[in-house]
């Protein structure tokens, strides 16, 4: 078995004559030009245009843009078999279909599927409400696990631990907006960042202990923020995007009996000969030095992309009210009670304004202009970033949060998971079933 790493969760697995490519994200600037690879992938000679297309299977884990990138995927044949997890709803399958693929194989979680040549794959779904999936590949007497961003249940991890995994790609870095984008005082934010980073590394160590692979590759991040105005997001004391070298150090410090391996994009691992270093030397320079130099190289391009973002339409207020009123009204009373939020939306820009989405309302109106004094969650965002979600041009509201081009606040300062689930996927039946569970 041979596996080449292309950053984030992208691995090219070559086993017994089969080629499986996972989560190919080969462009830069996901989520409104905010997310870049750990190292600029094109500088390792990798582009969607030049990437070899003789792939037997694609595996796509979940809808996030750094995993399912339309600009990359349009370079692959629409006939290629695409392996995805059979999730609770068809939303992800429809998204993949919408990219032009029509040979999609939805595999139920935990089901082992033979691909021929004694190669088999097993897809495991997340323990959470969100759609996500990990991949186990077996062949050539070897087993590879790619966790992607997937938070597997403990029983699934225990079962993996009994499978003699040879090499595992594990998520270790933070990959969202908490706590950086919240309005905490700076010292509180730094303390929360420190706690979150400790927790993420501890989680990595624990998952590795349970799954017990021979070789561990810290993967699926960190993303890099190259916008010159937001470089602070990459810092150790203000951001949660952890240097892979820290993950390797954490595994060594915990004395876990595994081989931690730092693979940069284009490095390869062969089950017979081990690591092959192919990545440019610059990918191994100190992370903060690399980021500052890369930011300088990309600053002009980021400015151009931002300048090309289409403005919001003048119908934003009407669309916003219809969008949220329809979605909240469609929820069952149980779900609205569980969310129990007053969501303040502060939209800046020419079409801006303030609105409150009130999940505590008895209906039929759930949104009104202006902010109530007792709002519980606040999102401040530019009109042009919000508008594509209101028009249906973009389907995954979480992309807006992942752009890190938002400001957030919450009162009280506690995680409202039901609100997050609503923003992630407001499918009424799915939400109801999730919260109706005993």
């Amino acid at each position: 078995m041979r596996v080449t790493y292309f950053g984030q969760a992208c691995t090219l697995i070559e086993v017994a004559g089969k080629k499986i490519l996972t989560d190919p994200w080969l462009t830069e600037g996901a989520y409104f030009s905010t997310w870049f690879h750990t190292h600029l992938i094109a500088e390792a000679g990798v582009t969607p245009e030049t990437f070899p297309k003789d792939i037997d299977y694609l595996f796509l884990s979940h809808e996030h843009q750094d995993h399912v990138d339309p600009a990359t995927l349009r370079h692959f044949s629409p006939q290629i078999p695409v392996l995805i997890c059979k999730f609770v709803t068809a939303k992800f399958r429809r998204h993949v279909e919408g990219l032009g693929f029509h040979n999609i194989r939805e595999i139920p979680t935990g089901q082992r599927v033979e691909l021929g040549n004694e190669v088999a794959v097993t897809i495991l779904s997340s323990a959470e409400y969100t759609n996500d999936a990990a991949l186990l590949v077996e062949g050539d007497g070897c087993r590879l696990l790619n966790e992607t961003d997937c938070k597997l249940s403990y029983p699934d991890l225990e079962r993996l631990g009994q499978q003699d995994i040879d090499i595992g790609f594990y998520m270790f870095s933070g990959a969202n907006w908490y706590p950086m984008m919240y309005d905490y005082p700076d010292e509180v934010k730094r303390a929360l960042v420190s706690r979150r980073r400790r927790s993420l590394l501890r989680s990595l160590v624990q998952r590795v202990k349970v799954t017990n692979p021979r070789v561990v590759v810290p993967a699926a991040g960190p993303c890099t923020i190259l916008d010159p105005d937001r470089l602070w997001l990459n810092s150790e004391d203000r951001g949660i995007f952890i240097d892979p070298e820290e993950a390797v150090a954490a595994l060594k410090a915990a004395q876990v009996p595994v081989e931690p391996l730092y693979m940069a994009a284009t490095d390869a691992w062969d089950s017979r000969s081990g690591l092959e270093r192919w990545a440019p030397a610059a990918f191994r320079m100190p992370r903060q030095d690399y980021i500052h130099a890369a930011s300088e190289r990309m600053a002009a391009q980021i400015r151009l992309r931002r300048a090309a973002e289409p403005p919001a339409g003048s119908d934003l207020p009407q669309r916003l009210m219809a969008y949220f009123n329809t979605l909240v009204a469609a929820q069952t009373p149980l779900v609205r009670r569980r969310i129990h939020a007053k969501l303040a939306l502060v939209v800046t820009g020419r079409q801006g304004g303030s609105w409150t989405v009130d999940f505590t309302s008895t209906g039929p109106e759930y949104i009104y202009e202006g902010l109530v004094s007792d709002w519980t969650y606040r999102i401040e965002v530019e009109d042009k970033l919000l508008y594509p979600f209101l028009t249906g041009q973009m389907h995954f509201f979480e992309d807006l949060l992942l752009s890190l081009r938002i400001r957030l606040a919450r009162r009280p300062d506690e995680y409202n998971e039901a609100l997050y689930h609503f923003l992630y996927d407001p499918d009424p039946e799915r939400l109801h079933n999730w919260y109706a569970m005993p």
Binding site: A127, S203, N416, E417
Partner: protein
Amino acid sequence: MPCLEIKLDDIPLEIPVRLKHDGAAIVVIQTRNGVSAFHDRCPHAQWPVSDGEIVDGILVCPGHGWQFNMNTGQCLNSPTYQLKPLSVVVYNDSIHIEWE
């Protein structure tokens, strides 16, 4: 109703202890406020919280860092989560735990 009796001295202060009995996994925690016991399963992704650590008086799940009040089992990150508490009676130097 399954039950279990253990010695108070077998449960160190503020160190989660995992016990298995009748097919059930239990975590027992002794604090300065008393003894509490829960099913040893984080409601988030089913990790055994007994493998977690206690930081500043808070039980932290080893899996994904969810935090719990050691006495009530209430999740401090999200009020919708709670460790499932078991009935605990302490008398003399013994702890009696019952669950359904």
